[in-house]
């Protein structure tokens, strides 16, 4: 039997020590009629070789970045992951430990998390980072709750229409049972109009939620937006792309009060949506309103520097219903991955990645944008991702790219919440993200494949979906 290590002799001797006849004795507290009288209806157990063959079979049906060139985006990006990240994160000492309640037995994790907090502060310019939340969407929701507690304004949240629609959905869910109005300002130009945002802000507004770069890939005037929020006493919450900070002005320098992020770009594989890494940072004065774990430095009884779980009086295991969040298990191992990733890149590495993404994305945008049937949706500065407007249905262009060995997208029609900003063009738009991994040859080949079809017909033809 898999993963059971007591021999029949062991079992007998254990039962004798206990003074029980059989294992059934212990289960007498479960009323007899509630106990299953037949096995669960589940498939039979598999040996390791059988399991591996089964998983390989399932994996072979999928098409990931190992079989196609990935130019997909919308918050999840195909950045290069150095081998050292996997090597360290696959140490059992890291991945089979749990929450570091016993500091003496957990200095490895605790110090790594303290380094994570520091790196994220260095990256963002913010004062404090916690030790991780689930992912970008919940990090944003937690930031909004924080803003409510800080401002005492519980009735209105203002969100830009250029926010990732799934993050907006998560926020809607978290606010379901609160009497709080969620107002969305459409961004038909691809970025927010600061004047319109200013007019929409009022003294009831708890916070303004901004994404930088936004879901269309475009760069918002973050500084002016933060300023507008502050003018009515609201907080500015920014959801940022960590890699963009190798080029863009930091959230702190732009005036952000709470900066959150999806940390997937920092050495975490796409793995169909998770586990990823929620990042949440804030100003020093708001630290006691933060959700999640915080690691602090202190000294031990011999005066040695060490690290502990800190300010736990905010957390659910102490404060219960008055806690700043219900989070317990977080994304520790992903925070370790991000720490290793940033340590490997260092300042220059991050700058290089950001520059490469930016140059290659602009090259791709220029080349794709000049093809018949394709154009850039917005005339706005962008970083590594841009929105294409296609002639015809965007999903047909995605199908054509896939047939040529490329993954583009997502198409934006799949997000009903973006329709207000995209209008009638929604069905014709898709995202293209270009990371440092893409080469000129790949981009040229994609352009070529589109061009060769375009020359044969005026409208794109569906090539059908592969089985």
């Amino acid at each position: 039997m898999a993963y059971l290590f007591n021999t029949p002799d062991d079992i007998q001797s254990m039962l004798e020590t206990i003074g029980a006849d059989s294992i059934e004795t212990f289960f007498e507290q479960v009323p007899r009629h509630l106990q299953l009288d037949q096995p669960l209806d589940l498939p039979p157990g598999l040996s390791e070789p059988e399991l591996e063959a089964h998983l390989r079979q399932l994996a072979a049906v999928n098409h990931g970045t190992s079989s196609r060139v990935c130019l997909m985006g919308a918050g999840v990006y195909d950045h290069f992951i150095p081998a050292a990240v996997d090597e360290i994160a696959s140490r059992g000492e890291f991945y089979t430990a749990y929450t570091p309640y016993q500091a003496e037995a957990s200095q490895g994790s605790l110090q790594a998390f303290f380094e994570f907090q520091t790196l994220i502060c260095q990256l963002t310019g913010m004062d404090v980072s916690n030790a991780s939340l689930y992912e970008g969407g919940t990090a944003l929701s937690e930031a909004v709750f924080m803003a409510m507690r800080i401002t005492g304004r519980h009735n209105r949240v203002l969100v830009l229409g250029s926010l990732h629609p799934e993050y907006q959905q998560v926020l809607e869910t978290y606010l379901r049972n609160f009497d709080c109005q969620l107002d969305v300002i459409a961004t038909p130009d691809g970025v927010a109009d600061v004047d319109i945002v200013s007019q929409a802000l009022d003294s009831e507004t708890c916070c303004l939620v901004i994404q930088q770069p936004n879901v269309f890939g475009a760069i918002e005037n973050l500084e002016s937006l933060c300023q507008a929020a502050h003018e009515v006493g609201a907080l500015a919450i920014t959801s940022f792309d960590p890699i963009s900070l190798g080029l863009l002005k930091s959230p702190a320098a732009c005036g952000t009060d709470i900066a959150v992020a999806e940390g997937q770009s920092l050495g975490i594989p796409a793995q169909y949506g998770g586990p990823y890494l929620g990042i949440l940072t804030c100003r020093q004065k708001h630290v006691r309103q933060m959700p999640g774990r915080l690691i602090g430095q202190t000294v031990d009884r011999n005066g040695r520097r060490c690290f502990v779980l800190n300010l736990q009086a905010r957390e659910q295991h102490i404060r219960r219903e008055k806690a700043t969040s219900n989070i317990c298990t977080n994304q520790g191992l992903l925070a370790v991955r991000a720490t290793i990733y940033l340590a490997l890149l260092g300042r220059q590495g991050l700058l290089d990645v950001a520059q490469l993404c930016c140059q290659k994305a602009h090259y791709a945008a220029d080349r794709l944008g000049e093809l018949p049937g394709l154009e850039l949706m917005f005339q706005q500065p962008f970083f590594k991702e841009f929105t294409l407007k296609c002639q015809g249905d965007a999903t047909e262009w995605i199908d054509r790219a896939a047939a040529a060995g490329f993954d583009l997208g997502p198409d934006l029609a799949r997000f009903p919440r973006l329709r207000e900003s995209l209008g009638d063009d929604a069905d014709q738009t898709l995202l293209v993200a270009v990371t440092e991994q893409r080469t000129r040859e790949e981009i040229d080949r994609l352009v070529q494949s589109f061009a060769s079809v375009s020359t044969h017909s005026d409208t794109p033809q569906s090539l059908g979906k592969p089985a």
Binding site: T17, I23, Q29, V30, L40, D41, L42, P43, L51, E52, L55, L58, A59, S66, V76, G92, F94, T96, A97, Y98, T99, Q107, F114, T118, L119, Q122, V128, Y134, G137, N221, G246, L247, L248, S250, A253, Y272, G274, V287, T298, V299, R301, R304, C306, A313, R320, A323, N326, Q331, L333, A343, L344, G346, R347, H362, P381, I398, D399, D407, R440, A467
Partner: protein, 495 residues
């Protein structure tokens, strides 16, 4: 043996001009950056002040750091309520397969059919284990599963035009229960346990009325006891018009033996990182899928994987959001990497293996409990389920040895400490969960260490541990002057 230089903070190891990761030259025609992004949007100083290290610096640093941890791979880790069972290595290899690890969440569904089949079958397996057929895999951890299910409950009541405002739970509940209830907009009502450690039926009944929304209960409870009156509890909650939520943190005791849906639960969450071997990752990630009654299914968070047969008889898997869904509780599908490991575990064990795992977990706990009965008695229950809460109150009273002292000293013997001071209903609580993947040999050695400790000099124990990299950190100092990130003037010189 310890390399203390390597475990200085990476910021202290940093040396200007060093780097690990190098990238190729730009192979597209470069444009002046000012033409691409206005200067006002870019930083004008040196940018983020990240440390500068070589790859060997980084490797040596983190590998040495890793040796400062206890972990399931290296130590017995009987942390109660956390189910620290062995994490099979095969899962790590399989979760890393191309075609699984490299799938972008927005890939076309025709490109994800293998993954969707896996997730669909995972939904079915969890539904079967729960005895509750409708499953959403989306929640990222147990606490988020609680929140999602409570939002489902509130949507269900709303659909019936009922206003129910109160969530009830025993005082021995995990802190996440009330914290989740608060975010879901409910008032919290806490019950005292009966003297036997179980739910006090009379006290529960006194609190039930038409404002009762949900009764949350962990079963087996946090004392490691099965709530023998669970059917009657559920009946009374249902009679009052409420729903019963089962916190599945302790499913390791009962999987394949009894099912929450069969003993009156309407909703539950699983902790895939506990019960189904998703590794705990130093604090996460987890996965907290929820299973609910059929009539609650339409409110579940989505997407959910559905199975259809097309006109040609081919099976297809699609993503669907239930009709009256509470919405997303997170971006993308879920913590798929952890769900996938749970899938591997369930496929390895099969129905009999799952039941046997629960039986052996309960055997190991009862064996350890009996070995410790003379020094660390268990106030509640004759036999326990997969864990037990012993009390060091006698040792505290007679010898001034606290649960904390014992926990710290255990580290010197090479054992991770149990959960201590939870639940609060047991004085000097030590919550011990050995799991089924430990052998008699380990349990005997652990019990022997505890007996030695019980005989040690209390003064000596107050200073323990001695063999660990650090000992008794000053938590008060940490909280009073929080240092939450490294800076060049962190006062170390004065240490």
């Amino acid at each position: 043996m310890r390399n203390t230089l390597a475990t200085e903070l990476i910021f202290e190891l940093s040396q200007s001009g060093r780097r690990a990761a190098c990238y190729p030259d730009c192979d597209v025609p470069q444009q002046p950056i000012d033409d691409l992004i206005p200067a006002a949007y870019r930083f004008q100083d040196d940018g983020p002040g990240l440390p500068e290290l070589t790859e060997p610096d980084v490797i040596r640093h983190f590998l040495n750091l890793s040796t400062l941890n206890m972990s399931v791979d290296t130590h017995f880790y009987p942390l109660g309520s956390c189910t620290m069972k062995y994490n099979p290595k095969r899962h790590e290899r399989l979760a890393g397969l191309p075609g699984l690890v490299d799938l972008h969440p927005y890939q076309r569904t025709c490109d994800q059919q293998g993954m969707l089949r896996l997730l669909h079958d995972m939904q079915d397996m969890l539904g079967e284990i729960a005895g509750l057929p409708a499953v959403s895999l989306q929640p990222a951890a147990g606490a988020q599963g609680e929140l999602a299910a409570l939002l489902v409950a509130s949507a269900w009541f709303r659909s019936r035009n009922e206003t129910r405002t109160r969530v009830i739970f025993p005082c021995s509940a995990h802190g996440t229960n009330p914290a989740s209830a608060a975010i879901a907009g409910f008032q919290c009502v806490q019950l005292n346990n009966s003297p036997g450690g179980l739910v006090d039926l009379d006290e529960l009944t006194a609190q039930l009325d038409n404002s009762t929304a949900v009764f949350m209960i962990t079963n087996p409870n946090t004392l490691g006891l099965f709530e023998t009156q669970i059917e009657e509890i559920a009946k009374r909650v249902h009679d009052a018009g409420g729903l019963v939520y089962i916190d599945g943190a302790n499913m390791n005791a009962i999987m394949g033996v009894t099912r929450p849906g069969d003993f009156g639960g309407d909703m539950m969450h699983f902790n895939v990182h506990k019960t189904f071997t998703g590794p705990h990752g130093g604090g996460g990630p987890g996965a907290g899928p929820i299973a609910v009654r059929e009539d609650l299914a339409k409110f579940l968070p989505g997407p959910i994987v559905s199975r259809t047969t097309d006109d040609n008889g081919y099976t297809r898997f699609e993503l669907e959001t239930p009709a009256n869904s509470i919405g997303r509780v997170r971006s993308h599908f879920g913590n798929v990497g952890i769900l996938l490991r749970g899938y591997c575990y369930l496929r390895t064990l099969g129905p009999d293996g799952i039941r046997q795992a629960a039986r052996h977990a309960v055997l190991n706990a009862n064996y350890l409990k009996s070995l410790l009965a003379d020094i660390l008695p268990v106030p509640n229950g004759e036999y326990c389920m997969h864990e037990f809460v012993a009390s060091a109150a006698n040792l505290k009273d007679n010898r001034d040895i606290s649960a904390l002292d014992i926990a710290k000293r255990l580290l010197d013997f090479g054992f991770h400490a149990p959960t201590i001071y939870f639940p609060l209903v047991v004085p000097e609580a030590m919550m011990i969960e050995p799991t089924e993947t430990e052998s008699k040999l380990t349990l005997d050695a652990f019990a022997e260490a505890l007996h030695k400790i019980a005989d040690e000099d209390p003064e000596f124990l107050h200073q323990a541990p001695y063999e660990t990299p650090v000992s008794r950190p000053d938590d008060v100092k940490a909280a009073r002057q929080p240092i939450l990130s490294w800076s060049t003037d962190d006062g170390r010189d004065s240490l």
